[in-house]
Amino acid sequence: MLDESFYREQIIDLYESPLNHGELDPHDFSYEEDNPLCGDVIRIDVRLDDEGHVAEAAWSGDGCAISQASASLLTEEIKGKTLAEVKAFPKEELLELIGVPLSMARVKCALLSLKVLKSGAYGIPDKNVMRNQD
């Protein structure tokens, strides 16, 4: 018996038709990281406006329905937010946006996009992109 509510329609909708999918060039920051458990990779590019608010955010990568839906929802949600707000974005808020109960392993999938976003926002040197190029 499949619990079909787990993959409620929104997740599948976003998997089929993601929001903000692609890359931004130029961008103010960009970061990419993988989840070594499952090989999901998410890259997020962000462009800020003159007042330091998020003007545009885009994501690219490869992953499961949960991690991809999460990236769509997150990049949509941060538009108009300040860099400080992005840095402080609570994980509970993202999990609420996703709105389906997640097992411990899948919480990592769901939060990968937020980890990538915050790493970019904090300007952490992008070691992972270099590693992935080998």
């Binding site: 499949l2 993959y7 499952c38 090989g39 499961c64 329905a65 097992s103 899948r106």
Partner: protein, 408 residues
């Protein structure tokens, strides 16, 4: 022929439910196997009536414990036809086997300019220890490629194996493709250039007869938990001359003959490599697991898994959009790694789990293999002596529903 219903009754966990009303279907045996009652009972009995530290006390209990512990070593030696139980070193798992050889044999024998030959289908356990060793020593790693069908491409083996090759280490059976490699032939090729040859038997010893003297390998390692035994116990088999010449792996109690303040001398094989209080009950559990498997017959177990694998590959291939990785059933063990177009493997695993079916999704500790295939992950169903065609049917039914949920 195995009596599968009788075997299933030996594994209490197979009668449990994954979720209320949803029976467990365990198809993740390549990651870790379940435990039959005799193994669970032997470990419980040991703790209830026989435990003391081994090799130390002169009291009766310590003598009992030591006899049980060393008796398990003898069982394992017979199981893989090792010439002597002193060539069976207890470890935590196969990963530790590679690390022991890399650390002890490797540091004493690998020099700058030497080459270590591996294959592209190795588990990380048979890659990373050699990467660390090669970097430290200035040695080079080379790789036997795999072909599109998941078998080793041996056409250039003659170029890859040279007098520079000091070690050739490869898997007897791929944990992703399931490919059963021609171990004896590869050992001979390695020896022909004077290389020491090590075999990753983590997926072969649990599933088919393995005879280390017939294979003529120098080192062979495997884990207890994949063969009905407990976690925390593994085995390194080594050729006597090599083990004797090797320096210890870890220092401490039990591995010494005599200790002075500034220097020590080492114990005999195999204890030279076993510092500290070992995994006593785990070794005894593995000894019981080996009895259990040997009693059923490794040929029978292998034949059953071939039957199930053949059945599973045919059934899976009827799912629309499925790609199965690896060679045909006749050339592989009980592993089916697959993808379904339009559904990420992680989502496949999550959704079939709702039907009580345990499979694995990810790179299965073989990232370079997946990178070469151009995919980040696969879903993997893996079988064992208790797997039934009914369980495979349930998996296939569940996969059809996964496709429906993803509107495919």
């Amino acid at each position: 022929m195995l009596d599968i219903a009788k075997i299933r009754a030996d594994f209490p966990i197979l009668a449990t439910e994954a979720y209320p009303g949803v029976p467990l279907i365990y198809l993740d045996n390549a990651a870790s196997s379940q435990k039959p009652l005799p193994v669970i009972q032997a470990m419980s009995d040991y703790y209830q009536g026989h435990h003391a530290n081994v090799h130390r006390g002169i009291h009766k209990l310590s003598e009992d414990a030591t006899n049980l512990y060393e008796g398990a070593r003898e069982k394992v030696a017979r199981f893989i036809n090792a010439p002597d139980s002193s060539q069976i070193v207890w470890l935590r798992n196969a990963t530790e086997g590679f690390n022991l050889v890399a650390y002890s044999w490797g540091r004493a024998n690998i020099q700058a300019g030497d080459e270590i030959l591996l294959t592209e289908m190795e588990h990380h356990a048979n890659l990373v220890p050699w990467q660390i060793l090669a970097e430290e020593k200035g040695a080079a790693l080379r790789f036997v490629p795999f072909a599109a069908d998941g078998t080793l491409d041996l056409s250039n083996l003659g170029d890859l194996l040279t007098e520079k090759t000091k070690l050739f280490s490869f898997t007897a059976m791929s944990n992703v493709f399931g490919t059963i490699n021609p171990v004896k032939e590869l050992v001979e090729a390695g020896h022909a250039v004077g290389a020491v040859v090590m075999v990753d038997a983590a997926q072969s010893v649990p599933h088919m007869p393995v005879d280390v003297q017939a294979l003529d390998c120098d080192f062979l390692t495997f884990s207890g938990h994949k063969m009905c035994g407990p976690t925390g116990i593994g085995v390194l088999y080594g050729r006597r001359e090599l083990l004797e010449a090797m320096p210890p792996f870890m220092g401490g109690g039990d591995m010494i003959r005599r200790v002075h303040l500034t220097h020590s001398s080492w114990n005999d094989l195999p204890w030279k490599f076993e510092a500290g209080t070992p995994s006593i009950v785990e070794a005894i559990g593995l000894g019981t697991a080996v009895d259990y498997l040997a009693n059923l017959g490794m040929d029978n177990i292998h034949a059953h898994e071939q039957f199930i694998t053949n059945y599973a590959l045919e059934a899976l291939s009827e799912v629309t959009g499925v790609t199965i990785y690896g060679p045909p059933a006749s050339q592989k063990g009980g592993v089916a790694a697959f993808t379904i177009k339009g559904v990420h493997p992680h989502d496949i695993a999550e959704l079939v789990d709702k039907d009580g079916i345990a499979i694995r999704a990810g790179h299965h500790c073989a990232m370079p293999l997946h990178k070469k295939l151009g995919i980040s992950a696969t879903a993997r169903a893996s079988f064992y002596l208790h797997t039934t065609t009914g369980e495979v049917d349930k998996l296939v039914e569940s996969l059809h529903r996964v496709r429906q949920i993803f509107r495919l």
